[in-house]
Symmetry: C2
Subunit: 562 residues, 2 copies
């Protein structure tokens, strides 16, 4: 009998890095460990003078990865698994999280001269200091009639690659001048693992490049040099260091170098996959494939789907993006999402902090328990889930949250349920948009902290979306997705679908729509859409019915319950 | 030197009765006392099977009045004031609070056979058990093309006289059959004080009759017999016991009878004024007169104005009512109001109960202190104050509260301020409506618990309404208004204006509009009106600007503050 083979997934999140060791034959997760980043506030370096700044020290990523891989190997060893059985390593990180490096692929932040310089660190995905530059890039591309924004909803973001580089070039020219180039964190980590010392040879993730850096084969890769030069000459220089074409994660970045291998306690030479962004590998680890929508439900949500590259997809207005091979090789990757989900419930518990429900997780549990007993429609409340703007399908950050139907008897569990319902209606709006443009969703698989923790939310989503909701088997879907690619580059599986079939699955627990609740939610969703379109789009509408319809529905539901 | 003369005001509120002894020459309040009602929950008798029921035991009114008058006389005596110096008594009560009586003016509730019968008690103003009957009366008057609702906004209320009698006739025929007639509480109290034993001789308050029982000289008093008979024959029978014409409070109801005088410790024979409703006498006690709007700011608000009867007033849509002599003799009484003001802040403190601000008054104080430091517009929030419907100018109970502009950073002091601002915008809408119909408001005087307790609210109201706000000198404006009429019927003053000039005044403290805040509030009020009209009236409107304008305003205000 052959010894089992294992793949290692490394998942670099916002506050910590996780290592997960997985049996390539059956996806069994034999060991996992995570390490918090050491620097800043929960791993995030901030500035007292600019609240938009969020940076990370790349040394934290390196030290954290070494620590947690060593711990995983100890745990595996106790189960009789040897490091020699590890056939491949996959990597996912947050993004866009670019960092400046020198020509030998050393992060500037790890060179003494720049060690204390915020601009030399990794610019974390949620760094918003470049909002002016984002608007400038949107205007420049739009005014020039260039197609670069067609696949990302028409608006370039302050969270993305070129905005951050342009801000650095403008405000920290000495850092920009010292940088031989910039790597996404998901490109840097494999380069470090493989001991690469030539920037031009570092493979680039198509996932990060296509979603965040306006990379697309349709226009030959990155935006043309002249366009970037018109923004700033340094951007054109950085462009030249980019190894094209960008690659999907079923491709090897290289093999584990002996120096890092020694620090981790691994044999050198293990194949390392090209990196990708965490949400997209979370989709892979949850079983994303044609017809399957994966919803990653956390502080915000990310919805991922794929469609064969051979299929001509229309531009779907209101999607975050459609990018080639960003999730699976050979497939378009479709990404949508909601800009605040768990964050809204967290805001309510932390900032509004209703008395009598305790704090933190206790408050969520008690509020959900009380909200569970409220029939749909019985509160008379209706909310818009726009506390952090609307990412999809309105792609408008300049919107805000709303609740109506308030009375002198309105309670906090009723409000808590109304926030959940509002995010469910937002999720339904995305499904409706996909359906309008012919994208067939045959199956919905969820993962992420909110999906794991809130049966109430899951049941409401099933009722509102009128579809069964499955749960990914793994509680570490991103790291598992990385391990899937580790298994593929390690040769344990010939294809990604084969690796997914073997290594990923869903739980037995399925949330089915409750036929008793679906009709009321149809009425509430129609009213939600009325508000959604009234506040989120232009055009005159009559809203005189909204409050009265909610009161009628409330009275009907309450009298039926007697 | 003549001895000073004094007038006694008796103010029958929802939970207690207050007696106030006032110097008729200068309004000096020499003694006051209040007594809580003994029966039920804070004086209100409720039913486990019908949450809409709110009744009061008339024995509580009698016992309470005797107790607190005796206490006031003790306090006055200690100051060297003799009961013989009291020249007149005035009375105000809640309403419409009708109670059934026998032919000798004894409340049925005080006859053993009916003592435990809820339907035989006084039906408190906030009793809503007659909502079906109210709708029936509205439909009947409207369908018959009768004018009875023209002076009360077009809709008859479940809180009013005929709704309650019709409900009693339908559901408690034995009580209705035993009742020789029904009196408003403000008619019963003077009848009791004067020892009246002939129902047909009891003077009726024009204030209560005109605002609550569709009484108007224009159609000869109460609605015609045939109309009432078509609703129920018992209503036609009750109509026949009504002494017409109804009278203003500058008229004597009679003189204090020896039996009650003995129980109170007063000399018999003191003149007693015809009663009136508490809000209207609160306006009198605050100095209401031509050009002066009195705002009584409490759980809800009541806005009172007068205009000479010789002046032809248009029907002003959205007012609660225009009634002859309901506030001052010789004047139209105009009444408007907001259905929830203090109640909204109370709901937020009690039901939402944000942590970190304590409970009750402490919470109001701490939230107001924190809200004080928030610049207008800086929260980005905008709310509609319709938690209990909208009394004026939309006269629509089927509306609900709304707040928008919510973000993940929204705090509870910001919400607290937004609720205050929403009620201020509602107050402004009433002022605007009066101005549209040519009613000139030259001066605004406020009274009531909220006006006394919340400098933050007063300043915001001044800024939003763009007018100075005065405060009535007396903290007991209703009882003082009753005393004003006591002084008039007692002959201390020849006219009500003369009595008001002597006995009422305002405090030195005046809230002036802050020129720095007025412009921002104009912008916010325009957005409030946009929401107000969109949700409160029919007709299509474009709301796409609302959230964006609020965010722009927020950003502008915040950056200006740096």
């Amino acid at each position: 009998m052959n010894a089992s083979s294992f793949a290692l997934g490394l998942d670099f999140g916002t506050s910590s890095v996780r290592a997960l060791l997985v049996n390539t034959a059956n996806g069994h997760e034999v060991a996992t460990a995570s390490t918090a980043y050491a620097t800043g506030d929960h791993g995030v370096m901030t500035s007292p003078t600019d609240a938009d700044i969020a940076r990370q020290h790349p040394g934290d990523h390196i030290a954290g990865a070494i620590t947690c891989v060593r711990r995983v190997l100890e745990l595996a060893s106790a189960k009789g698994i040897a490091s020699s059985q590890i056939v491949g390593i996959g990597v996912d990180t947050t993004g866009s999280t670019p960092l400046p490096v020198d020509a030998k692929v050393r992060p500037l932040a790890m060179i003494p001269q720049f060690a204390r310089e915020l601009a030399a660190q990794a610019w974390l995905w949620k760094d918003h200091s470049s909002h002016a530059e984002a608007a400038e890039i949107t205007n420049a591309a739009t005014n020039a009639g260039l197609p670069y924004l067609t696949t990302c909803g028409g608006t370039y973001s302050s969270e993305w690659f070129w905005s951050k580089l342009l801000h650095c070039a403008r405000h920290h020219p000495q850092v920009m001048a010292a940088a031989a180039g910039w790597l996404e964190l998901c490109d840097y980590i494999p380069a470090w693992l493989c001991g690469m010392t030539d920037l031009a040879a570092v493979p680039r993730s198509i996932c990060a490049a296509a979603h965040k850096a306006m990379y697309h084969p349709q226009w030959g890769g990155l935006p043309e040099t002249e366009f970037l030069r018109s923004l700033h000459p340094e951007l054109a220089r950085v462009r030249e260091t980019f190894r094209s074409p960008a690659l999907a994660s079923d491709q090897r970045a290289g093999t584990l170098c002996s120096a890092v291998a020694a620090e981790m306690g691994l044999p050198a030479g293990i194949p390392v996959a090209v990196g990708a962004l965490d949400a997209h590998l979370g989709a892979v680890g949850s079983g994303c494939g044609p017809g399957t929508l994966v919803k990653i439900l956390g502080t915000s949500t990310c919805d991922c789907m794929v469609a064969p590259l051979s299929q001509a997809l229309p531009n779907i207005p209101g999607l975050c993006g459609i990018a080639p091979e960003s999730i699976l090789p050979g497939m378009h990757g479709l990404e949508a999402g909601q800009s605040a989900v768990g964050d809204i419930f967290q805001w309510f518990v932390q900032k509004i902090a209703p008395q009598g429900f305790g704090h933190g997780d206790t408050a969520h549990t008690l509020l959900a328990t009380a909200a569970q007993n409220i029939a749909p429609g019985a509160s008379g409340l209706l909310a818009l889930d726009w506390h952090n703007g609307n990412r999809c399908v309105l792609t408008d950050p300049r919107l805000s949250g709303l609740v109506l139907g308030l009375t002198l008897a309105t309670t906090t569990p009723e409000l808590y349920r109304a926030w959940i319902e509002a995010t469910a209606f937002g999720a339904r709006a995305i499904l409706d948009r996909l359906a309008e443009y012919g994208v067939q969703v045959e199956r919905i698989v969820t993962c992420g902290g909110v999906a794991e923790k809130s049966p109430l939310l899951m049941q409401i989503y099933a009722n509102v979306c009128e579809r069964p909701l499955l749960l990914a088997r793994s509680g570490e879907a991103c790291a598992l997705g990385a391990a899937v690619f580790g298994a593929v580059v390690g040769g344990a599986h010939a294809t990604v679908p084969a690796a997914q079939a073997a290594m990923t699955s869903t739980k037995d627990l399925v949330y089915h729509p409750d036929p008793a609740q679906v009709p009321v939610y149809r009425e509430l969703y129609a009213l939600y859409r009325q508000l959604h379109d009234a506040f989120g789009t232009t055009g005159a509408r009559d809203l005189a019915n909204v409050m009265k319809d909610l009161l009628r529905l409330r009275d009907r539901v309450r009298s039926a319950a007697v």
